[in-house]
């Protein structure tokens, strides 16, 4: 599904993601779509669905919560970076890492309250030293020893496509859009539904909204 980015021309875009917790079934499709799209290293998931057991038998159930970079308006990971490798794009709020500048000090990893940043120690694939043909291509996108994180699939976003995780969600629990556009689907959803922003009290102004 194409994303309308044209309407945002001429003003700053504020990308936000709405996560409908009543629709999420914890299938981890977003987790796998992100892995396939971005070729992240073993054990590292830029987006993932965490789960928690609630209640007691016989009324026990599991609740799910997709976790990802919140592309905060006041990202705590950016000012702590000693080299300026962590930055926020000027024309929107997407937080990225310039891996050629990163020294791998882990300061941003610790500063992120959403545990959404990672520093892989090496470039080994899922089968040890032997990398598959896919891994050889995908692993060229990042460098071992430097920080990496969700890019909100900017390579797709910038051409009007949705991020892989959002496009693949079978229950349409994930919605992306411009929060500055009052007519966008996400703006309507967060106006209409009860919602919370994760750990908003920490002052990062996260742009992921969980609809409850």
């Amino acid at each position: 599904m194409a994303l309308s980015v044209n309407s945002a021309e001429g003003r700053k875009v504020k990308w936000g993601v709405a996560v409908d917790l009543k629709r999420c079934v914890g299938c981890q499709s977003c987790t796998m779509a992100c892995k396939a799209e971005n070729g992240t290293p073993p054990g590292i998931f830029w987006t993932r669905v965490i789960e928690k057991e609630e209640g007691v038998y016989p009324f026990a159930y599991t609740v799910f919560m997709p976790m990802r970079c919140n592309h905060c308006s006041e990202p705590p990971c950016v000012p702590v970076c000693p080299t300026g490798a962590s930055y926020q794009r000027a024309h929107d709020n997407v937080v990225l890492v310039d891996q050629d500048q990163c020294v791998g000090c882990h300061a941003c990893v610790v500063a992120c309250p959403y545990e959404a940043r990672f520093v892989p120690d090496n470039a080994r694939g899922y089968y040890g030293r032997h990398t598959t043909a896919y891994e050889e291509v995908a692993y060229k996108k990042w460098q071992a020893g430097t920080a990496q994180k969700c890019t909100l699939c900017v390579h797709r976003l910038d051409v009007g496509l949705q991020p892989a995780c959002i496009e693949t969600c079978p229950t349409r629990a994930l919605v992306i859009g411009d929060l500055n556009d009052a007519g966008s689907e996400i703006s309507k959803l967060i106006r209409q539904r009860p919602r919370f922003q994760p750990r908003a009290e920490l002052g990062a102004e996260p742009n992921v909204f969980y609809l409850t």
Partner: protein, 313 residues
């Protein structure tokens, strides 16, 4: 590193021994340089402080994922405490070295006891003080880890830097002209002050609740309780205090114990840094409809079926 898929309290896994050793070497070394200037100690202690900082810097390079780019670390002085720290270290190394250089390089245009060397020495001492302070500010800025996100942490780290520096003075007693007497008293006072600061810090974190309280709990639970209870409290504070006060012949052992405790304290603080937990489905989510018995469900389905049948009719 593998990520968890469960909503739970988790400790940071990024920093461990290497960063602890860096914190220890830079804090203790710079604390020693400040004491060197204030107490007018022999030049040996200034060289020991400079060596400690160089060694600490080398350890920090090992911690970096891409150490060859470390020179880029000065480019965000406006926002990053790490960046500011690199600048302080550079200034400290240059001014500290130049202030003591006349001791063996007589051809330099300034004298060791002259105004120029004194000014350089005090600038170096000011930079050293900032190097003692900035790791605390750097850690305390992390809102993601409430155990560090407190003004008490920089205070305790300053206390440990001073304690470590006094331990180095005890160990280097052979270089002291007037004997050890004033310095063993200083060590005793610093141990007591650091112990009080540590106690207040832990009490404040325990009272803060949530992840900060969990950090305090982890310090007092195996396996960390051995490192903290035995290493930091017993060996690092209580034993050296007893030795300094009542066993003057064992001051070197007291110094070694203080240094060990100082290093282990930094390791403990880093390892029990618990992240704020994910905000998982709390306020506003109505799960009451899940708590239905089989009879309730049967009744509900019967009602739905009747509704459909009525609609068709």
């Amino acid at each position: 590193m593998a990520q968890g898929f469960n909503a739970e309290l988790k400790c940071q896994q990024e920093w461990g021994w290497l960063l602890s050793i860096w914190l220890f070497l830079s804090g203790t070394g710079c604390g020693l340089f400040v004491l060197f200037k204030i107490l007018d100690l022999p030049i040996f202690f200034a060289l020991l402080a400079l060596g400690s900082i160089v060694l600490g810097g080398a350890v920090l390079l090992l911690e970096l994922g891409s150490p060859t780019r470390a020179w880029r670390g000065v480019s965000r002085v406006r926002t990053s405490w790490l960046s500011r720290g690199v600048v302080f270290v550079c200034f400290f190394m240059v001014t500290g070295f130049l202030s003591v250089a006349p001791a063996w390089a007589a051809w330099l245009p300034w004298e060791g006891s002259g105004l120029g060397a004194e000014a350089l020495g005090w600038i170096a001492a000011l930079c050293a003080l900032m190097i003692v302070l900035y790791p605390g500010f750097f850690l305390a800025k992390n809102r993601s880890i409430p155990f560090w996100n407190t003004t008490w942490l920089p205070a305790v780290l300053v206390g440990y830097a001073a304690t470590g520096a006094s331990a180095l003075i005890l160990l280097g007693s052979g270089y002291l002209r007037d004997g050890l007497h004033p310095f063993d008293s200083l060590a005793a006072v610093l141990i007591v002050v650091t112990g009080i600061l540590l106690g207040v810090y832990l009490l404040a974190m325990h009272r803060a609740g949530g992840p900060a309280r969990e950090s305090v709990r982890l310090l007092n639970t195996a396996p960390m309780s051995w490192t903290f209870g035995f290493g930091v409290i017993l060996v690092g504070l209580l034993l050296p205090l007893v030795l300094v006060l009542w066993v003057p012949s064992a001051l070197v052992l007291a110094g070694l114990c203080m240094l060990a405790g100082s290093l282990l304290f930094r390791y403990c603080v880093l390892k029990v840094g618990v992240y704020v937990p994910p905000a998982l489905v709390q306020a506003g989510m109505d799960f009451s409809r899940l708590n239905r018995t089989g009879t309730d469900l049967e009744r509900e389905y019967a009602g739905m079926a009747a509704h459909r049948a009525g609609g068709r009719g």
